[in-house]
């Protein structure tokens, strides 16, 4: 009988100095690791991409193994806003309100062509991309994107949350960005 190969799926430790009973690393890396593997998404599912998002939560593609076990429907308790589906101009103020209610740190993923740029609906009633009203971190193109693509987008937010500075809300670039959208 061949020996069973053990595949370790633990996250790798950040670079640091370890010894008997201690491990010294930067606080940033540790917090980044904790953040990225425990992101709570807020699914803002409006149309067809919402069903692919639901498929991604289900056992075949399983978002829960990435740490997003609990879908937070309350913006106050969510880390990551997943906008799945078409946003119309009527819904724009609602989306902005939800983004403003979220507490820092927060990231936004625009899932699907409609959220990224209006998609196939170049009409008078559809907002041509949510980046017209809120800042977006990751765009996942597709109509609808396969669940694996949405997972890739989610993994990019994980990479962002590991590598960004902890207090990015204090940086001048971020303040300017929010001001350009009229969010204070």
């Amino acid at each position: 009988m061949s020996e069973n190969k053990i595949i370790k799926t633990d996250a790798p430790a950040p670079p640091g100095f370890s010894g008997e009973g201690f491990f010294a690393t930067k606080l940033d890396s540790l917090i980044g690791m904790a953040r990225s593997y425990s992101l709570w998404p807020l699914p803002f599912a409006t149309s067809c991409c919402g069903i692919e998002f639901m498929a991604m939560m289900m056992p075949t593609y399983d978002l829960a193994r990435f740490g997003a076990e609990r879908m937070s429907f309350s913006p106050r308790q969510a880390d990551c806003l997943l906008v799945c589906g078409t946003i119309s101009k009527k819904l724009g103020p609602v989306l902005k309100e939800i983004y403003t209610q979220m507490a820092e740190p927060k990231w936004v993923i625009a899932v699907g062509a409609c959220a990224s740029s209006g998609g196939i609906f170049d009409t008078y009633s559809v907002l041509q991309g949510i980046d017209k009203i809120i800042p977006v971190d990751v765009y996942v193109p597709g109509c609808p994107p396969r669940p694996e693509q949405i997972l890739e987008g989610f993994m990019q937010v994980q990479a962002l949350s590991q590598s960004e500075s902890l207090r990015r809300r204090d940086t001048p670039e971020y303040q300017n960005l929010l001001e350009s959208y009229g969010i204070d």
């Binding site: 009527k90 170049d122 008078y124 559809v126 041509q128």
Partner: protein
């Protein structure tokens, strides 16, 4: 229940309301005068013809037909004998109004609101005629032919490629 039977019954009762009739693809279609449309629908519903299911109400805009630009089209259905009929009524664009049929069919409420939203047709007697699907800030009735589809804020489309 054939097309001829129903057509003859309607023409007998309302001989001067029916402007024209045709049968495109076997579907009886009548054009009715604007003032009599509610009477005819009421008659179809309550008489022995029993055409008492409202399938749909929609609007249409023909900018070239003078005095008859905007139309309302009703699709009705008799489920027991599977008979369908289409009633059309046209009106000039300066004065688009027609009677509501919400007291005959409860389902006509939102259908008429949608037609009002898209074409600006005023349904007299409707309990709550206001915009339903569009943004209230839009300010115009978008399905009329003079309004464009796009809104102009799209930045990635190249006009040279799209032939505009």
């Amino acid at each position: 229940m054939t097309n001829e039977f129903v057509l003859e019954a309607i023409q007998r009762e309302f001989s001067d309301s029916v402007i024209s009739h045709s049968e495109p693809y076997g579907f009886l279609t009548l054009e009715i005068k604007k003032e009599d449309i509610k009477k005819i629908i009421h008659y179809l519903k309550d008489s022995s013809l029993e055409i008492n299911f409202l399938t749909d109400i929609c609007g249409i805009h023909f900018p070239e037909n003078k005095e008859k630009e905007v139309g309302v089209i009703y699709h009705l259905h008799n489920m027991m004998t599977n008979f369908r009929i289409r009633l059309k009524t046209f009106m000039p664009i300066e004065n688009t109004e027609v009677d509501t049929i919400t007291d005959l069919f409860a389902g006509a409420n939102w259908m008429e609101r949608e037609t009002y939203d898209f074409f600006g047709i005023n349904f007299k007697g409707h309990p709550d005629l206001r915009i339903i699907l569009n943004d209230p800030d839009l300010g115009y009735h978008p399905m009329l032919k003079e309004y464009r589809l796009e809104d102009g804020t799209r930045t990635d489309k190249d006009d040279k490629m799209f032939g505009r």
